[in-house]
Symmetry: C2
Subunit: 419 residues, 2 copies
């Protein structure tokens, strides 16, 4: 389908365009310019948007466990280890593929309604996540979890890697995802590196202070130096990186490695801080944003994570330390770069993952700066239209095909079975 | 009008009711019970709500400057003093009554759409705020600002207090609001105390660390001890109280004094922390929630402040330190208590300030605990119906009378004039 999208403002994200027009052909942005001019050049293209809209690139959720949307609100008041041991693991032990499908379907639906067009996952039964994402129409990078314990779909790391290979052969976009430096042996990590074949690797790194101390005792050096030694830093997407040191930040900045700040989850699970984003930017490291699973957030809303990291940074490092414009890049272009995705920007040649935000709301008034209103004042429900690869998935804030009722029914069934 | 409101869950806030029915006559809750039973007892009452709804008391925004909604997004990246000096004061100097009216109308509309049924303000031209609140149908406690500098509507503190008296005589609910211990002399504070006649007083206290140090130098003791000496602690609603000490918390807990946490504004303006809520609860002090002005937030959304204080507290003081149920009380019953308002609870005899939340959303699924979903996962846009004193002000997420277009037009005019 061919589109001419119009918007009062567009944030590319680096530049602010006014009265913007964006032309999409076969899923790709072919021209960006003045709407009035493009109207005459492409008179027959399907028009959408208008003067009450802001156009931004689709948001990238660079770390989640989407099937865990099943566990939203399960025992909120526990720190990470107790929460995992007492609330999550007993339920996870009972998970069947159809439960993961239900949780993933719900999570994907929530995400795309929130303007997320692409996510990087990490879990098991990833084929179910892939199927759910396809049904919803969102891009999924299926992080096949690898860990030195039996998983519901893989008794050994080797089996998990075989599953990954099978999934890849079926045409899914697979990302090898060793769980962490403490839950994977050196041998497992080496197998993962080999299986990744130079592609993106996804991993929890330096999530808690305790984890960092234990890694130091095990390996005699901090986590990111261990990963450097293992040759795993290039193309690593490191979730959390809460307790990364300045020395590690400098190292990370030299590699093609990305850090995923998950501020809501880090705060809720009491990690004591979030990625030191300001230091990270100072040395030139890539920072993207993730929601983590809905079990520990409890939303899958990258806009909210953007607000959260801004408030956290301003409080911790000063009111001038981080700006809305920078965070919009975390949410879009930097996230896309981390995944090697040809999207995340409003630019000729990029694939058309785009979001129209309806600014015709009291909380968008007045509008001194659309980027400020987007990050500080908007709600996920302001997301009106969402395109993935040029296909209109969400219109008027509603998914064009999927009914919540059906999804909620599947989730309820899974919830009852896991109770 | 007589209502029978039905809801899958109601949070009173202390208790969770299932399949709840609430009967409202002439603005007052007359019965709370099982919906099916009440249906037979009150067959002719107008029914609203249903199984997809959660019913909660209306939210109380215990600190704002609602006319400042005009300044949403004006220079976000400045610390408090620079922001005031460089961004706010030059605009405020040009404010006319009609500008304050426009800003207040917008802010009141935003608030009521977010489930806020009552707010405590602090500014000048408060009659304009009162008029706007009346038009919107929200309860306003008009905090008439008193400060030792000329204000647009009062050259001296005496004149401000005269304005307050005039407003009160016109039937408005007025709250004497000395600006702070540094911007009001002892004499001004004593005049304010006298003018309040034992009623609620509203004041910024211990907002920044620097302010506390300056108060200590000026008075030889910390701010809340100064207020105790002045006899102003009883019925004080102290906005921010960011840097309150443990000794002051113990004192505050002995008085009928309330602290208003404004977490988003405190973080955005880099105060370095928020009210130590956990210590405050441990000694039994009243904690309520406020948004502060939209200039420094940039939302007027008490639900979001609830989430923010939870995440902040968990990160700072542990995952078990603060619970959603406690924060719901801050937002409702404690806020009402601070203002001496016979509302904030779903209980026979309370005035019917009530909010129906639509849970039929992906981010509300699954629902292990409605209070958890409300605080961690919901959006202000889930607010579906809002009653103030039994009058239905918002239905289906829309204000029943007011058009945004009209309000936005007034705001745009003010914005252009102040540019």
């Amino acid at each position: 389908m061919e589109w001419l999208i119009g918007a009062r403002y567009a944030l590319t994200p680096r530049k602010k365009l006014t009265n913007a027009g964006v032309v999409v052909e076969e899923g790709v942005i072919v021209e960006v310019g003045d709407f009035e001019k493009l109207k005459h050049k492409y008179p027959r293209y399907e028009r959408i948007g208008g003067r009450e809209y802001l156009l931004v690139p689709g948001f990238v959720n660079a770390h989640t466990h989407v099937a865990m949307t099943l566990f939203r609100g399960v025992e909120d008041d526990k720190p990470l280890n107790a929460w995992l041991r007492e609330a999550v693991w007993p339920k996870e032990a009972k998970l069947r593929p159809e439960d993961c499908y239900a949780g993933a379907l719900l999570g994907c639906l929530e995400m795309v309604l929130n303007g997320v067009t692409c996510f990087l996952d990490m879990y098991f039964y990833e084929e179910e996540v892939g199927k759910a994402a396809k049904e919803v129409g969102i891009r999924a990078f299926l992080g096949v979890g690898v860990i030195d314990f039996p998983l519901p779909d893989a008794k050994t790391p080797k089996e998990a890697l075989k599953n990954a290979e099978k999934l890849r052969k079926k045409g899914y976009r697979v990302v090898i995802s060793p769980h962490s430096l403490l839950t994977c042996s050196k041998e497992t990590l080496e197998m993962c590196k080999e299986a990744a074949k130079g592609d993106v690797i996804h991993m929890h790194v330096s999530e808690t202070e305790e984890e960092v101390e234990r890694v130091k005792r095990k390996y005699g050096k901090p986590p990111f130096f261990v990963l450097e030694e293992l040759g795993m830093l290039e193309k690593l997407v490191a979730a959390h990186a809460t307790w990364i040191s300045r020395e590690e930040l400098r190292l990370v900045a030299e590699r093609e490695c990305s850090l995923v700040a998950c501020p809501s989850a880090a705060m809720k699970l009491s990690y004591g801080r979030v990625v030191p984003v300001v230091d990270a930017l100072n040395v030139g490291a890539n920072v993207c944003l993730g929601t983590d699973g809905a079990g520990s957030n409890n939303r899958l809303d990258i806009l909210l994570e953007g607000r959260e990291i801004l408030l956290y940074a301003k409080n911790a490092w000063g009111a001038e330390s981080l700006k809305a414009e920078q965070v919009l890049e975390f949410m879009t272009s930097t996230g896309a770069k981390a995944l090697g995705l040809n999207a995340g920007e409003i630019k000729e040649g990029r694939e058309a993952d785009l979001v129209l935000i309806n600014m015709d709301k009291p909380h968008w008034t007045p509008c001194y700066d659309p980027c400020s209103n987007l990050l500080y004042a908007s709600l996920a429900s302001d997301v009106d239209c969402v395109f993935v690869k040029g296909e209109l998935i969400v219109e008027g804030g509603k998914h064009k095909k999927l009914e919540l009722e059906k999804v909620a029914g599947l989730v309820e069934k899974a919830k009852n079975r896991l109770a």
